[in-house]
Structures are given as C-alpha cells and as structure tokens.
C-alpha cells in the first residue's frame, strides 16, 4: 500500500474516516452465519452478468430479421462467443438461485424484523426486477420458445382489471409480439432494468452496512463476531472463487446452444415449457382458472413483501411460528408446482 499512486491519493484525500469505519465493522458469528455470504455472492454473480451482458450487446442486434442471426454469429464466429453467452445464460440461472436462497434464509432467520423492514421490501423488489430481467432477456435470441414465453408473459396483464389491456399493449408495442416487442424487451433488459436494480441494490447494500447484519433470534445469546475486513471479506472472496469454479464447470459441461429462429405463424410446439424459475407460474396457469391463479400469485407476492409489517411478534423479539409455517407453505407450493410441471406429460 506504499505505492506511488496510493501516496498520491493519500496526500490529497483523507481516507481515514473510511478506514476507521471499515476497521470497526463486525459481522456476527454463530451457527447460521453461513447464510450471510449469499448477499455478497448475488452481487458477484450480478457483476458477471453485467460484464458478459455488455460484451454480448456489442454484437447483438434487436430486430426480428437479425436477432437470431446475430446470436448465431456470436456463437459461431465471435472468438469465445459461445463461452461468454454460456456464462451469461448460466449466470442468470445462478443469480436467480442465489437470490432465492438469500431471500428464504433472510425469511426463516426473521432478519426482516425491525429495523430492517425496508431492506426486506427492497429485496423483494430486487427479486421481481431480476426475474423481469430474465424474462425480457429470454426473448432476445428470437427462438420459438422465447417467442411463446413472451406471448404468455405479455398476456398475463390482460387479466388485470381496468388497466390490463393498456399494460399488455405497452409491453407488446403492437397488436402481437413482433419487432416492436423485441426492441422494447431489449431496451428494458439492457438499460431500464439495470438502472432500476442497480439503484435499489445500492440502497439495499447501503442499509445492510448502516444497520449491520441481523442475528437470528435463536442466536442472540452468542456474542461472537468477526471483522468485516479482512476476515469476512476473505471468506466471502473464497465463496466467490468457489462459485465461479462451479459456474465455469456448468458452462464447460452444458454450454448453452441456440434453438432455431421462430416462425411466428406456426403453432406452439408440443411440450413447450418455461425455465425452471417460472415453472410454478406455468403449472399454476394449467391447474387453476386464469384469474384465480394469477390473482393468487399476485396476492401471495404482496403479502410476502409486507411480511415484516404483519409479523409483529418477530419485531418484538418473540418467536413467530405462524410466519415460519407460512414460509414453509410457500416453499411447499413452489416445489409442488415445479415438480408437477416437470413430471406431467402432455395432456391431449
């Protein structure tokens, strides 16, 4: 740290308050500390997504004529194009998985309780934005599957009373999914959503540093803690390193291919299914009448977001078994629907 550049900066800017603040930052240590690493891991995977996403944007072209061809060009002609695109594909899957683990660990340790209600609400919004990023990015290769996934996603708002048609039309940008939809999804995926989630994540992370990390109610008697820097950060970096090794393994074992360009006139092919993180929505739509299914998911998401304000017991430092059971019920529903979607063969 005695390099010339560091000295140059130190001479001009006083870093001592920052250094003092970092030096005194502590992370609670107990048997559930393991879950603390998932927030930082999500940030790491998100960074990979931003870098690979920008790289792909150098070659991608968001028009129905060129979209699939430009992705094909990335895969076939661009040096390491298959690698960058596969990392972006697997990174998206990892990111959603990590964010889900982060959310459910926060939920079951009741870390959302006072004073961290806002962090929880922002976290749920971040999950929604990340899923929207996955949805909007899905159309970009312009394949049959991505085309029909977008048709379904843009049809769902039609069941919203009063403003549904307007919202759907806003998403599609025309009578049906086409060129206008592709530019809309591209703009959302590459500009609008990143600005939104980066802003909200910045507030979320800022609050996590101001408020410190929550200790689960069951672990309040433990007084152990570790320094944020260097101890916690070294372990966090170890987690990042291991996670990147796993990500690269997935990329090498299962590189993402590219399906054929969609012919928008032809029917949806048999056995069409969304990605794993949307299977519960898919199965809900097949199992329940439209308004009940979509209304139920929307209502569930709103209640989920407001849990810190409903769970008064946890805020008072008491056990709240009801909300633990509610969380278990949500997981059981998500897993059941996902498994059903996997095992049900086509109904003809």
């Amino acid at each position: 740290m005695t390099s010339r550049a560091a000295d140059f900066l130190k001479d001009r800017i006083d870093f001592s308050p920052v250094q003092a603040w970092v030096a005194q930052r502590k992370i609670p240590q107990h048997k559930h500390s393991f879950w603390y690493y998932f927030g930082g891991l999500a940030l790491f995977v998100l960074t990979i997504q931003i870098i690979t996403g920008i790289m792909l944007a150098f070659y991608y072209s968001p028009t129905p004529v060129k979209a699939n061809e430009s992705v094909r060009y990335i895969m076939e002609k661009v040096h390491y194009g298959w690698l960058i695109r596969s990392i972006h594909f697997w990174g998206a899957n990892f990111l959603i998985a990590v964010v889900l683990v982060h959310m459910f660990s926060t939920y079951f340790t009741k870390a959302y309780r006072k004073p961290r209600e806002i962090m929880w609400v922002l976290g749920v919004i971040i999950l929604a934005l990340i899923l929207t990023s996955a949805f909007t990015g899905y159309l970009l290769p312009w394949t049959t599957l991505s085309y029909f996934a977008t048709k379904i996603g843009t049809s769902m708002p039609l069941y919203v009373p009063f403003v549904g048609h307007f919202i759907s039309r806003l998403m599609v940008g025309g009578a049906d999914v086409g060129a206008a939809t592709l530019t809309r999804m591209f703009t959302l995926h590459t500009i609008v959503l990143p600005i939104l989630w980066l802003t909200i994540i910045a507030i979320h992370v800022f609050l996590s540093q101001v408020l410190g990390l929550s200790t689960p109610l069951s672990q309040r008697s433990t007084r152990d803690e570790t320094k944020l820097f260097p101890n916690f950060m070294m372990r966090q970096a170890a987690v990042w390193s291991g996670a990147l090794a796993v990500l690269i393994s997935f990329v090498a074992l299962f590189p993402e291919g590219l399906a054929a360009k969609v012919n928008p006139v032809l029917p949806a092919p048999a056995g069409i299914k969304p990605e794993w993180y949307f299977l519960f929505v898919f199965q809900t739509l097949r199992t329940f009448p439209d308004v009940i299914g979509l209304g139920g998911i929307t209502l569930g998401a709103i209640i989920w977001m407001l849990v810190p304000f409903l769970d008064r017991k946890a805020s008072n430092g008491e056990k709240s078994t009801f909300f633990t059971l509610f969380g278990v019920a949500i997981i059981v529903y998500l897993v059941t629907m996902t498994v059903m979607a996997y095992i049900t063969t086509e109904v003809h």
Binding site: W82, V210, L211, A237, A238, V239, I248
Partner: protein, 68 residues
C-alpha cells in the same frame, strides 16, 4: 424446405461450440486455479483467527451493534 434450412443451421452451431475435450482443456486450469485460491483464502483466514495471541474473533464485551 424451411425446416431443412433450420436443421442445417442447427448442425453448424453444434460444430461451432468446441468439443467437450476442448472446453475442458480451456476450463480445467481455470477451475483448478479458482479452487486453489479458494482454499488459500480459507486457510489464510483460519490461520488468522487461530493465532494464540491477538485473536481476531473475540468474545467481545464492547461490541457496537445497531440492530437487535
């Protein structure tokens, strides 16, 4: 006819992704290095926290935490 053209395109893509061996020749060194870095960091932090003097994990009486 249209389907045939698409199939041909799919075939060319399959050949565009490097073979399993090539992918692993590329990825394996990176994976090994990442795992070494991971274990290096874990060992380092373990050593740091288990020094007999100046333990960095302490039963702290003076801890300052803003949250419950």
């Amino acid at each position: 006819m249209f389907a045939l053209v698409l199939d041909a395109a799919a075939d060319s893509l399959a050949s565009a992704i490097p073979s399993f061996t090539d992918r692993f020749n590329f990825a394996l060194p990176l994976i090994v290095v990442l795992l070494i870095v991971m274990f290096f960091l874990l060992i380092k932090v373990y050593a740091l926290e288990n020094q007999p003097h100046d333990r960095l994990v302490k039963k702290s009486q003076t801890r300052k935490r803003t949250g419950p």
